[in-house]
Amino acid sequence: MSPAGRHQRRRDNVGNWAEHLLTERRRRSAEPDLISRALASNRLGVPSVVFFGVAGAAPLTVVIGGISTVYAVIGQTAAPVVYLVVAAILSIFTVGFVAMSRHIVNSGAFYSYISHGFNRELGVAAAFVALPAYAMMQIGLFGLFGVVAAGVLEAFGLTTSWAVCALVAWALVSVLGILWVDLSGKVLGALLAAEIAVVLVYDFIMVANPAGGQVTFDTLSPAQLLTPEVAAMMVLAIAGFVGFEATVVLSEEAKDPKRTIARATHFSVIAAGLLLGASAWAMSVATGPDRIVAVAAEEKTDLVFTLITPHVPEALVSIGYLLFMTSIFAALLAFHAAVSRYQFALGREGVLPGIWGYTHPRTGAPVVGSIAQSILALAVIVFYSFLDADPLVYLFAWLTTIGGLGVLILMWSASAAVVAFFLRNPGRENIWRGMLAPIVAFFLLSVVLDATVIGLGDILQVPEGSPFRWVFPVAYAVCAVLGILWAMIMRRVWPHNYAMIGRGGGGSRALLDLADFSKPHSHAVAGASQVHPIRPIDQVGKR
């Protein structure tokens, strides 16, 4: 006989039952359970995502290389306010863009948004625009790096041509790209922090030593936005933000896909806008608003360094030059990784030949895309060095501007795709995120794109009647048409691959029925957290 009588046992039973009920209730009320918490611990918070977005943009490269080019090329003093306005436009664009990223799988690159919002043909067209655009942005940076590195070496008494420096950088980037070395960790973080610190110190020095002894706010006046050159300035400004859109790649890695990515993307756009706007203003203060254009045209990328040299110890300028170099190099590496990843994603979905979908088994490096981009870059560098063209103008400024035009085209069509997506799938987001913001963004980006296409000749500084005034937008159009044709061929010949375009290439052998988005990814919808008990077999019925 057990020591407990039947009353005792009965009380135990009741106790067990009550306890079971309690734990059950507690488990259901406590929001993040064991599994969610364990998964969240390995996920990214806002700072990491911001870092991912800003590191690609390399602030020092943009401040020193980009802003002076904007002043010199456009010949307008509106740069500070243009950076702020571009940040605002991109921020509005981000609202709808991030909202859509929650509702589609494989929310990686622009082309997947376009293939979800419109159709797969336009998606492939976007991919065909994106590939040359991002590739050119990277290759253009080699020109800047070559010139800057050659300048630094000359200070040490070594005279080399820019091409040699660019080729050394090319070799390093190619090797690191194939090894898939993860510089993104502490090294890049420290570099980024140092860059931002240097930019802030320089800005402070420039504002503290204004031309004529007084600080003016003329260049910040919004009235300048009414001048016709402003829209053309915007494409150059947008090129300085490229990289922020990469944050949505991490949406499946973020702690809270609903908020983390949105906050981080907004934060990186606005922070970059403020930093760049402030720097552009500080430069104009240091030279005086009426002289900034002339000085910038004369000094080019040395503008900032020339302005601060009289006021700071020599070491600070040297540190600036070194950081400028490493910053360009980091940007080169980041763009290289982005381009090869883009090619990998396309290879995986069968848009590019299957070999592009191959990764190195151990490191996961998209080897083929990496090599392809390296070969292309090598060809361009060698071509330019034989051409003996000014690398700063024809390699850096031209290619990044043309690449920026491509990215602008992508953003514009992505903003249209967001509108189309939420028209087709109403009620998924509130009216601001799903309707108003995307439409406003589409309108603003249309204006910028329109003005850019018209004013491209002036941005590139080619004379009237030169074919370069119109050939680049036409080339992008040709790329897009080729993409549409390619998608049609795919639809006829490889219907399986066609169905997977923009869908991440998962299980390409079977899962064909992805035409309707009945299942957005797991954590994104509010309904996913409601309780679905797993029923044992006797309730479900025999299989």
């Binding site: 259901r28 359970d33 064991l34 599994i35 969610s36 364990a38 998964l39 390995n42 494989n106 990686g108 898939w180 993860d182 790649v249 991490l250 499946e252 890695e253 990784a337 990843r341 990998f344 994603a345 995986r348 990764t359 088994p361 151990r362 490191t363 996961g364 998209p366 991440g504 290439g505 998962g506 299980g507 052998r509 079977a510 899962l511 299942k519 990814h521 797991s522 996913a528 957290s529 409601q530 309780v531 679905h532 008990p533 797993i534 029923r535 044992p536 077999i537 479900v540 299989r543």
Partner: protein, 212 residues
Amino acid sequence: MADQYYLIAHEDRTGRSRLHPRATGLGLAAALLAELVLEGRVGINDGELLVLDQRPPRDALNHDILDLLNTQPQHRDMRTWMAYLAQDAGLRVAERLMRVGAVEMVTKRRMLGSTQVLYMPNTARQRNAAAWASTRVANILVRGMELNLPDRTLVGVVVATGLTRHVMYGFENYPHIYHALPGMIASLPSDLREIVECTESLVGSALTVGRR
């Protein structure tokens, strides 16, 4: 089966993973889920897990996972479970292998005083057994023999995580194997095929992001 996959996915001499660490984790998670499916405890339908039989399996690790599935009924999405299991699948399968004596725990001291714990075959016999894991599969494939269900699933996970080349190392002269692989995966029962497809897509996304 997860044991076999572990031995295939790690180098027998150094104990390092042959794949991107996240890909290895996902492959092991897939193998563990497949074990539960093969034991008839769990079914998979349209990306959702379904506990068919709550009775504890014989193996301690399977038992552990099934208990977790039972106590967390609010999560049914297979991708969630794969991501969860992938986090520590390597460690847990290694511990299981240690219990049966196939690997041993080796602590390596690296530069700057950090240590690394590896689970690797340490004696000649263990190394032989580990190397046999992939050779055995390759042999059966090359000779065109009929694979049983666990082995077919194993091959599916190997293909999905990109270890095919390694398993076929030295058998490049038999291209007919490669042509047989898709058919073999297609012939799996639907639950197991879903696991393989899900693994492939998750490994792809993990590599696209490129984070460790």
